[in-house]
């Protein structure tokens, strides 16, 4: 490579525009970093493996462990299996306004889980466990749709999520869970 005989030439107008461009990029990056670090606005993450072929024989995803469970400290967890063609169990009830942690695994192929217009969204990759924590402000009936191509039944892969008010939730679950 021959040596250069002049430095980079930038027109003054270009310099102005570059400042605008940098400022725009800095704004976007700043918002992402701030909301990520201080408000915990993140996509799901964290490498956790599991044998998708043997989900039903595992501890966490055994068929009788699926669905909604409430820990002694009140933390709500929903355990789901994505399998052609539904999210199992196919009908779940959770309370509004409380943080809910979803733990999802695939028993076969790639799936995507999304409750439209909420941030409950994740890929479900066979071999890996997906974890998403969110809260639903408003009670109502929400469809849980699969949004990744998983075969000829993909159009039909969906389940029902019912978000009930705090009062209805308290009425549902016995107050005492101790043996």
């Amino acid at each position: 490579m021959s040596s250069s005989s002049r430095p980079l030439h930038i027109d003054p107008l270009e310099k102005k525009w570059l400042k605008v461009a940098f400022a725009l990029i800095a704004l976007f990056v700043g918002v992402i970093l701030y909301t990520g670090f201080f408000q915990h606005v993140h996509p799901p993450g964290g490498m956790e493996t599991i044998d998708s072929a043997a989900l039903h024989l595992s501890e966490e995803f055994a068929e009788d462990r699926l669905g909604v469970s409430v820990a002694p400290d009140g933390a709500i967890k929903v355990t789901l299996v994505a399998a052609r063609y539904g999210f199992y169990p196919r009908s779940i009830k959770v309370p509004a306004g409380r943080p809910i942690t979803f733990r999802i695994a695939s028993a076969d192929v790639l799936h995507g889980l999304h409750v439209p217009m909420t941030n409950l969204a994740t890929m479900v990759v066979p071999g890996y466990i997906s974890t998403v924590t969110t809260r639903f402000p408003k009670p109502g009936e929400y469809p849980l749709l699969c949004n990744e191509y998983c075969g000829m039944g993909h159009d039909h892969m969906w389940s029902q999520l019912q978000v009930v008010s705090q009062e209805d939730w308290d009425a549902l679950t016995p107050s005492s869970k101790e043996p």
Partner: protein
């Protein structure tokens, strides 16, 4: 501890549909099992299957096995062995067979020519369920899993075309009542529970002979 589990089960019964205490099947298609399956030998399978072909013919109570999906056959045989699927006759017959024997049987039957479904009875009720399902009951179409013509799909969705109609009828009824419960995640049970008698009959006649 037991009482805690019982109460949790009651709670979960309110919050979810369907509760199972044990896995529906103990068969998992792990790499080891897949290796066993692919090592299945047709010739050996034919020898062992000599005692099967007597019952597994058209017109008998036992289902036709020719051209069935190999991994599905393997799973059913193993489920008979450990009680996940109940049939006194079958349980007795498969006792003592090794995994490799079962893989050989599966390999043998899966490479036979599958039955055709020339005697199937096509009704509109069946056509709709087979090709479109029913969104109101969250029923996917049968073809979504069982493929067009009901030929089955890897790895373990069974072929149902040309099967004995009586057997298909009984199977759907058994899934509906929960008598048969070795389907992973209760998927066939959930589907069958949504179907009424007429629909079950129509589907059995659509696919079967």
């Amino acid at each position: 501890m037991n009482r805690f589990l019982n109460i949790s089960a009651i709670i979960m019964a309110f919050l979810t549909e369907g509760v199972w205490a044990e896995p529906s099947s103990k068969v998992a298609f792990t790499p080891e099992v897949l290796k066993t399956l692919s090592a299945g030998q047709t010739k050996k399978g034919e020898e062992i299957a000599q005692s099967c072909v007597g019952c597994h013919v058209l017109g008998g109570a036992a289902p036709l096995l020719d051209g069935q999906i190999g991994a599905y056959l393997f799973k059913q045989l193993k489920d008979y062995q450990d009680g996940s699927r109940m049939n006194e006759l079958m349980t007795g017959l498969v006792r003592g067979l090794s995994d490799q024997d079962l893989a050989d049987i599966a390999a043998y039957f899966s490479q036979l020519k599958a039955p055709s479904s020339t005697k199937s009875k096509v009704t509109e009720m069946a056509e709709v369920l087979v090709h479109s399902g029913d969104p109101r009951r969250i029923l996917p179409p049968c073809v979504a899993c069982h493929e067009r013509d009901g030929r089955g799909q890897k790895i373990d969705v069974p072929a149902i075309r040309g099967q004995s109609a009586a057997y298909l009828h009984q199977t759907l009824k058994d899934y509906k009542s929960g008598q048969r419960h070795n389907d992973l995640l209760g998927r066939m049970r959930a589907i069958s529970q949504e179907l009424n008698e007429k629909e079950i009959k129509a589907l059995a006649e659509y696919y079967g002979q």
